[in-house]
């Protein structure tokens, strides 16, 4: 009976996830190029070619760079904001809403707005100049050196509220008595945080990392709208490369190869987590 209840979901996921993944993986091993499907088997040739392109090499480096800084940014800002809000100051509910509202906006809008804000001639630089903070000016998205970090800022802006919400939930879930007990034992506020609160936040941190991590590996809309991968390949990402390769260049097999690599990267992040998590559960 319980199995029957989840059967619809299992069937749907089997088709829509694993069936389609299988098809994509299969396509990546064929010679399909141009709009006519060509299922001649060519082995790993598409992968060899792919890894030789400068663009894809840049993609891999960019994805790792972006993911690391995006995660760090979201976790730091999210935790910082959550700790501040947890002080239960007057008006904190207003701040909480402000921090969360970017979650309600689509990446498409975020991309358009931040592209402007980063425009060196009429965006943030003007603001910094007016505030006599000229040293903060930068080329932002326009120079290959700073473009990826600027993209990261926009992504952090959008998603850090989610981290904040999770950490806030985590903090509020820690019984006050625990901290009280630490204080009674003579621990300072920061010690109490470090030795009592922080360890208890670990599971929630991990969940946040997983959810944000996969968003960052797959990032597409934001890059599409903000930079289209430029300047050069400075902000190009596998998701965008795949879209262009498949739908603009008609290199369907190579596009499928990119998708498969992307999937493997995601799996590398997710599968250990899933195993660790489920194992830990059975032991508990």
């Amino acid at each position: 009976m319980p199995i029957l209840m989840i059967a619809p979901s299992v069937v749907l996921i089997a088709i829509f996830v694993y069936g389609f993944i299988g098809r994509t993986a299969y396509t990546s091993l064929t010679a399909w190029r141009g709009v006519v499907p060509d299922y001649t088997f060519v082995g790993l040739r598409n992968y060899e070619r792919l890894f030789q392109t400068e663009k894809f090499q840049a993609d891999i480096v960019n994805t790792i760079h972006f993911t690391v800084f995006f995660l760090a940014g979201c976790l730091v800002l999210g935790l910082g904001a959550a700790v501040l809000l947890d002080q239960k100051l007057r008006g904190s509910i207003i701040f909480q809403n402000i921090f969360m509202f970017p979650l309600a906006i689509s990446f498409i809008v975020t991309g358009t707005v931040w592209r402007w804000i980063f425009n060196p001639n009429y965006g943030l630089n003007v603001l910094f100049h007016n505030l006599h903070l000229d040293f903060l000016q930068s080329g932002w998205l326009t120079s290959p050196g700073s473009a990826l970090n600027s993209l990261t800022i926009a992504a952090v802006w959008q998603m850090s509220g989610f981290c904040m919400a999770m950490f806030l939930a985590g903090l509020r879930g820690i019984p006050e008595e625990l901290r009280e007990a630490a204080r009674v034992d003579g621990a300072s506020e920061s010690q109490a945080f470090r030795y009592v609160v922080f360890p208890l936040l670990r599971p929630i941190t991990l969940s946040a990392v997983i959810i944000l991590g996969h968003i960052s590996l797959k990032i597409f809309d934001l890059v599409f709208v903000m930079t289209f991968g430029g300047p050069g390949y400075a902000t190009d990402m596998p998701g965008l490369n795949m879209f262009i390769t498949t739908f603009r260049q008609d290199l369907f097999a190579r596009g499928a190869a990119i998708a498969t690599v992307l999937l493997l990267m995601v799996a590398l992040l997710i599968v250990p987590y899933l195993i660790w998590n489920l194992r830990g559960e059975t032991e508990r």
Binding site: N121, T227, F228, G232
Partner: protein
């Protein structure tokens, strides 16, 4: 199944011309039509789904004008305006590809003249030739042969040009040029010296918006045309001449020189952001297709008073064609309606209604120039006498796979400015996609 409704009259007229095997398939559709006959209007009927990426501004207005003409002539046909915006047609192309792969073509779709259609759907056998429509409408007399060649392959015509944009146009802020007594340059040397003269006076004499890199690709093709002339241009973009040729290297060096005078924020700017710099006076020149005119006039700038246009440096007497066309996919659900649509697209009335709104000039040479602005009038006159070449950046001269690769290469070139390396990388792309 709603798409497959046919009115009795259409069915009979069609069935007469088609082979018996097809009739068998259609008779079911006819049966459906009979069921819905009570609502079907007397003349025409059914639907017409037109797929394009013209969603806003003058383009959308122009399309609406053509729809009006269609409705006037074929009352009772319900027009479905299927538009997909974003990424200068990239989203639309993705959607079109998923639909064509899935066997659900629209009745007719917007596509750039030439390779964008011929190297894809024509090659795949998914298009019907429109040669007979072309002949019956007498378009040989009204549309230039150079243009017909672009939309033809192996003896058949595949789509009807509805407009012509000029890819090689130089735009300037008239006041800045007058104030510095500069006449609009015609040669590359004049142009570069004008830029040098203005360097101290305006923030960045040449405005560039290179987000997506296709604008740099336009500079490349314009410069190749300037350096090598129309014959070399056609050869190099059909894989018959090499990209390591001195002409291409000359073209690249010119871009390199131009880059000394451009705004530093160009990688994030679109073409319209670049034109905004002309309006604000922070730049004097921009090289862009003639859709730029629509941006200037929308900002209440007056042609030949606030701004002017000339062929891009070194390309006087030559015309880079960026051309939108409509074709007929096999299995179009409302084939007869689609053929009528193609007739409207190629008609004098249709082109006269569409082009003033779109900011382009008609593909036909018999539309009265008096309904256009002075710059369009100048281009209409030049279109009749100039050597016409298809644009590669906009899908006419080369397949998209090549153009997209060149995009990436030009994105790299803007950063490393390495002429020789870029030339040899371009040749690699040519080997892969133009052979």
């Amino acid at each position: 199944m709603g798409n497959e409704r046919w009115s009795r009259r259409q069915f009979v007229s069609r069935a007469g011309k088609t082979a018996g095997g097809v009739v068998l398939g259609l008779s079911f559709a006819d049966f459906l039509a009979a069921c819905g006959a009570s609502q079907a209007p007397a003349a025409g009927g059914g639907k017409l789904e037109i797929f394009s990426w013209w969603t806003a501004g003058g383009e959308a207005d122009g399309l609406a004008e053509m729809f009006k003409i269609y409705k006037k002539n074929y009352a009772g046909v319900e027009i479905v305006n299927a538009t997909v915006a974003g990424g200068a047609g990239t989203n639309a192309k993705a959607v079109l590809k998923t639909r064509m792969e899935g066997g659900k073509p629209p009745d007719s779709f917007q596509v750039h003249a030439g390779q964008e259609l011929i190297s894809t759907w024509v090659k795949a056998g998914k298009m019907e030739p429109i040669t007979s429509v072309w002949k019956s409408q007498g378009w040989d007399n009204t549309i230039p042969k150079d243009l017909k060649d672009i939309v033809s392959s192996s003896g058949d015509v595949w789509s009807v040009p509805v407009n012509v944009h000029r890819g090689n146009a130089l735009w300037y802020n008239k006041k800045i040029l007058d104030d510095n007594s500069i006449t609009p340059p015609t040669t590359m040397d004049d142009f570069l010296s004008a830029l040098g003269k203005l360097k101290a006076k305006v923030q960045a004499p040449l405005a560039l918006g290179s987000s997506g890199n296709w604008q740099v690709q336009m500079l490349l093709e314009n410069n190749i045309l300037a350096a090598g002339g129309p014959d070399f241009y056609k050869q190099v973009f059909s894989g018959k001449a090499s990209f390591t040729d001195a002409n291409v290297k000359q073209a690249l060096s010119w871009i390199k020189s131009m880059l000394n005078y451009v705004n530093s924020d160009h990688p994030t700017l679109g073409w319209d952001d670049a034109d905004k710099r002309l309006i604000s006076g922070t730049s004097a020149f921009n090289i862009m297709g003639d859709w730029a005119k629509g941006y200037f006039t929308a900002a209440s700038w007056v042609p030949n008073k606030d701004f002017g246009a000339a062929p891009s440096p070194g390309t006087t007497g030559k015309y880079v064609i960026v051309c939108d066309t409509f074709g007929l996919p096999k299995g179009a659900p409302d084939r007869a309606n689609a053929i009528n649509w193609i007739k409207v697209c190629g008609s004098q009335e249709g082109q006269a209604a569409f082009n003033p709104k779109k900011g382009s000039i008609p593909a036909r040479t018999d539309v009265s120039a008096s309904i256009f602005d002075p710059i369009a009038q100048q281009f209409i006159a030049e279109f009749k006498t100039d050597a016409l070449v298809p644009s590669s950046a906009h899908g006419s001269a080369t397949p998209d796979a090549f153009a997209s690769g060149v995009n990436d290469e030009m994105g790299q070139f803007v950063i490393n400015k390495d002429v020789n390396k870029t030339a040899s990388n371009l040749q690699k792309l040519s080997d892969e996609f133009l052979k």
